[in-house]
Each structure stands twice: as structure tokens, then as C-alpha cells.
Amino acid sequence: MKTCLVVDDSRVIRKVARRILEDLGFEIAEASDGAEALAWCRAAMPDAVLLDWNMPVMSGIDFLKHLRAEVGGDRPRVVFCTVENDVAHINEALACGADEFIMKPFDGEIVASKFFQAGLT
């Protein structure tokens, strides 16, 4: 079973995302900020990361930069999931190694489409 780390400081968003991704066949782990997510990845690289942008302690984009510098950190497919929906943010995410980008608000159909585009399903 593929694993997906859901990184968001909102418990509600994590819960919604978990439900959608479990339906897509993923095993879910959760982290509430970038630093916690990085600790998870250092212990065991997931197949996918669903990643919020604005979070306390460490932001999504800083997490992504750290992740891609880790040994094996190029492997997880990273899908941003954020309210930062302008072209500049999207381009920055892609330049830092994001594979896909979900603009909030999202639903199950969008997540399924984006995970397919990212080569995860």
C-alpha cells in the first residue's frame, strides 16, 4: 500500500484529506508543520506528501527545500495544497521540486485528478 504524509496545521483539513486519500488507497500519516513532516520523512520516506504552504514552525516550501536535499528525498511525489493560488507561488513550488499543486478549496475529485497527474494513481 502506498503511503501519503498529510501536512497541514488544520486538523479539519487533515481529517478531510485523510478520508479522501484513504479512499484512493493510501495509508496516511499526519504532520502539523514542516518540521514534524521532515522528522517523519527522515524516519521513513512516504510515497506522497500532501503539503500546505503556510504553517507555524516550518512552512511547506521550506520543508520541500529540505526534503529534496535529503538522501532519498527526491523520491516522494509532493502535491501542494494551499490557498496561495497565484502563478508566482505555483512557479516557486515547481522550481523547488513540487510535482503537483492543488488550490484550496478542494474536493475528492480534484485530489484524485491531481494525484493522477502526479503519477501517484
Binding site: 493560488n85 497565484d86 502563478v87 505555483i90 512557479n91 515547481l94 503537483e100 499543486f101 492543488i102 488550490m103 478542494f106 475529485e109 480534484i110 485528478s113 491531481k114 493522477f116 497527474q117
Partner: protein
């Protein structure tokens, strides 16, 4: 909405466009027709249909029929047919074009996602086409769908269905809460209102026709007629893409399924001679 009103609408849809409309699906009928009634200044769907019965105005009849045509759509729907189109078919057609432009038609284009996906695919493959011109045509029965398609404006929800984010930032710009396709891609497409059950002979011949997930929305006799009409517009080496799993074309001798490509069909040469 009353039963005889629903039956009137279903009857008009079938008579004018071969559309299969279930008069029992009152909710669907009401959700489609309420905006039409509002737009034309009627207090309710019932009032609009009373006026339609008495005046029998063509414009009003078509507004009702067209409102029932909108189907589901998304960019690069099912992905595989578009990959095949871009990576296999386009280069084949270009190699055999003998200087003639490649003509592509999205029949029943709805709000434009299909033809624009094809336009983006053409653009991405441009360097491999040896300068061969590609003409893209799109048609739909629904005038409002065509207007929306031509605007190239899509909601955040629409651009997140089927479209990779790299294509989004490459081809779209954000305009307030909407996303607008670049003029470069929009200008590749020519548009036209077309009823697929009527005479199509003025459209010319095509190398590629996309007519996906339309047939199942038509009444049985019209499916065969539409598919045979389309088959006659194909160049001898042309292809037609139906929806994945749409087996309907096998009911006609006009087309032969291409083995290994779900939904892809070629014209049967014997049928063309007979027709």
C-alpha cells in the same frame, strides 16, 4: 414541474437534436431550465412553457433544447486518448500529409476543454510536425457553451480537473478568481454552432474527430445516424475517438475499432463505397 411540461421538453429535445431526455428526471429538468426562464424574464419554468406552447418561437424552443445538452467534461479527459493523439497520431498524420493541413474536429465540444486540450497537445508536438499546418475546429449545439468556450475563461475548479499544473501555468493567466487560456491557444480554434443530426456536408473532411461520450446522450436511432454522418466526414486514413468503453460504434458497419486503443475507430472503406 408538471408531467406534461416535462414530456413536452423531452419531445422537443428528441425531435430537434435526437437528445434522450428522461421526463421523470424532474430535478435535472428544473435545474437546467430555471436559468433559461430567468434569463428570458419569466417568473417560472411553467410560465415559460405556457409561452412556448402558444408562441412556438424557434428561439425559445432552441434555448430549451440547448439547456439540456450540457454534459460532463474536463481537460484531457481520460488522458490516454490525448497521449495517443499527441505522441502517435499527430506525427503519423504529419508524415503522410503531403503538404495538406491536418484537420481536427471536436464535435459537441461543450465548454471547450476537449478542443483546447487538443490545441495544447498540438502546440507541445509542434517541433515534430515538420511545419505541417494543423486546423482545429470545434462545434456544439449549445450557443452558450460555445460562448463560454470561446471566452477561454475557466473556474479554479475546472482548471484543476485533468490539467497538470505545469500546463496551467504555461497556458493560463489568473484573472481575478478565474483562469484565462492564452490567446495563442485560443486563436488556434475555429468555432461553429452545429446540430450533429442535421446535414453536415458543408463542414468538409477531417483527419481526426473527437466525439466522446455524446452518443449515449442520444436516442437510439440517432446514435447510428450521427456516427454514420461523422464516419462519412473522415478522410480515408482518418480516425474518430469516442469515449472510453463506448461500444456503440460497433453497431454500425461504418467504423472499425482499432485494436489496442479503447474508443478509437477508423472508417471502413467498404462502407464508404456503399454509401
Amino acid at each position: 414541474m408538471k408531467r406534461d411540461d416535462a414530456e413536452l421538453v423531452a419531445h422537443l429535445c428528441e425531435a430537434r437534436a435526437g437528445l434522450k431526455v428522461d421526463p421523470d428526471k424532474i430535478y435535472l429538468l428544473e435545474s437546467r431550465l430555471a436559468p433559461v426562464a430567468r434569463r428570458d424574464g419569466f417568473g417560472s419554468i411553467e410560465e415559460m412553457l405556457v409561452a412556448l406552447r402558444t408562441r412556438r418561437e424557434e428561439r425559445m424552443i432552441w434555448a430549451v433544447v440547448e439547456a439540456m445538452t450540457m454534459g460532463e467534461t474536463s481537460f484531457f479527459r481520460d488522458q490516454a486518448p490525448f497521449d495517443h493523439f499527441r505522441d502517435v497520431l499527430l506525427t503519423q498524420l504529419a508524415a503522410n500529409s503531403e503538404g495538406r493541413p491536418i484537420r481536427i474536429w471536436s464535435a459537441a465540444c461543450g465548454s471547450g476543454q476537449e478542443i483546447y486540450s487538443l490545441a495544447m497537445a498540438v502546440e507541445e508536438q509542434r517541433a515534430q510536425l515538420g511545419g505541417v499546418r494543423v486546423d482545429l475546429f470545434a462545434s456544439d449545439l449549445n450557443e452558450r457553451a460555445l460562448e463560454k468556450a470561446q471566452s477561454g475563461l475557466y473556474t479554479q475548479f475546472e482548471v484543476q480537473r485533468g490539467l497538470h499544473v505545469r500546463r496551467l501555468v504555461q497556458h493560463f493567466e489568473k484573472v481575478d478568481e478565474m483562469w484565462r487560456l492564452s490567446p495563442r491557444i485560443r486563436q488556434m480554434v475555429r468555432w461553429r454552432r452545429t446540430n450533429l443530426v442535421s446535414d453536415l456536408s458543408t463542414l468538409g473532411r477531417f483527419d481526426v474527430i473527437f466525439c466522446r461520450y455524446l452518443l449515449s446522450s442520444l436516442v437510439e436511432p440517432m446514435r447510428k445516424r450521427v456516427i454514420e454522418n461523422l464516419a462519412l466526414l473522415l478522410e480515408p486514413n482518418g480516425v474518430i475517438y469516442l469515449g472510453v468503453g463506448e461500444r456503440l460504434a460497433e453497431a454500425t458497419p461504418a467504423l472499425r475499432a482499432v485494436v489496442g486503443c479503447d474508443g478509437l475507430f477508423r472508417p471502413d472503406p467498404a462502407y464508404r463505397v456503399a454509401a
